[in-house]
Symmetry: C2
Subunit: 255 residues, 2 copies
């Protein structure tokens, strides 16, 4: 019922990016996501730290997982949890290795996120991709790390289904030279009137400065979200903009 010092030290180290990258492990918290992870085969679960009542209520998905399971008391869970509100289970999961597949990417719609810094935004964008059935989300190497616990939390399980990987845009472009590249810019053509293609990559720029000058030349199509006539805001939140663009693409291409 109590964690050993080495368990405690190891799990807490995963709160930091440095150690996530060293051990290739990350933390998944919360009843619903834990159930989803344990019911599927997408991820390798190395540790399950759960309260007795959670273990009792979830015996079905714990079959064959005794080696990974540690039943702990609430005060122990609190020590390793990153959530402020009480919680019943924490998983230590192995980072999946995602193989870039140019052929698969070239067949549909994907997103490229340039320097998205806010973990909530990245998680929310993964959830958007999951909703609209967009299988690949690429990030610039300077974007927030996918396995940041706040990204995982905000994605609401989307990280299980959407393939997310860091890659330089130039590398993506080289692998897929014919893919149409759309970018959301303030002076672009209104997305509702634009000609949208089924096989494309949509670039979402950084929260404060939008799409960089380095990436701008790669855009084949500059699109925008039309502002209301009396609208005042300077911009929309990056995840909201991504959601609107993806919704219009999906409507236009019928995907």
């Amino acid at each position: 019922m109590k964690l050993s010092n080495s368990q405690l030290k190891f799990i807490k180290s995963l709160h930091l990016r440095k150690f996530r990258q060293k051990y290739h492990n990350f933390i998944v918290e919360g009843t619903k996501i834990a159930q989803e992870v344990l019911s599927g085969n997408e991820l390798e679960v190395e540790g399950i730290y759960a309260l007795p009542e959670w273990v009792d209520a979830n015996s079905g998905i714990l079959v064959g997982r005794n080696d990974a399971l540690t039943v702990i008391a609430p005060e122990e869970l609190k020590k390793i949890s990153l959530l402020s509100t009480p919680n019943q289970v924490l998983l230590v999961v192995k980072e999946p290795s995602i193989q870039f597949d140019a052929n698969a990417v070239g067949q549909g719609l994907s997103l490229y996120l340039e320097d998205i810094r806010d973990p909530g935004n990245l998680g929310t964008i993964l959830r958007i991709a999951d909703w609209f059935g967009i299988p690949w989300v690429f990030c610039s190497p300077e974007s927030v790390e996918l396995f940041n616990p706040k990204v995982i939390q905000a994605s609401m399980g989307a990280f299980l289904r959407v393939k997310c990987m860091p890659i330089e845009f130039s590398e993506l472009r080289q692998a897929l030279p014919d893919l149409a590249v759309y970018g959301t810019v303030l002076d672009g053509a209104p997305v509702f009137e634009a000609d949208l293609e089924e096989r494309a990559v949509i670039v979402i720029g950084n929260e404060s400065r939008g799409i960089s000058d380095t990436l701008q030349p790669f855009l084949n199509h500059r699109i925008s979200i039309p502002k209301g006539k009396t609208g005042g805001a300077e911009s929309l939140n990056a995840a909201v903009a991504a959601g609107i663009i993806c919704a219009v693409f999906r409507d236009f291409t019928g995907g």
Copy 2:
């Protein structure tokens, strides 16, 4: 250069809802929003707590504001700030009193948020309303408080332009019995195909349970955001859903 104990105590009390409601004051932080607040006349600024370099760089907007200004050192600002990253200025602002105007509301599009709990979501929705020129955002009394510092932060200045007030939905309905009420529900008609009216209120439901059974009977139009054919997520983030619906309304009605 140093805050008095009573200043310190008062400003820190505004970190809590209880005292914001007692004093009808709230906190606005950050260079850009502070500049916007001080350049306009929308809000009464009762206190300006700024670093010397910020005061030097912003002398123009500080004219006639000497009584409210306290020049402080970074370590003092840190004591009263809610931000984790360094900052240059904090304002104590008087809560505006917003008068409900049924006539004005009845002339256009507005939003009704039912029990939105996440301050980031409320702030982001205000920013969306501001972008699309939606002048009124109503909240159920159980929603997160508008003057929560995280709401103010996420709204990026939208709280200056968008009128946001708590009101029971039944009261809003009584004041505007003819207004069309749209609600986003999972089994609604796809928003891209729906008949959208220029004068309407769009209801956005709570983050986990959507629109309540109490409010459902008020909906004249049940709409939805179509999921991709291979989409996996159970839902979209509430602010993202609001953004998509508002964008489609604005496109449809040309507002």
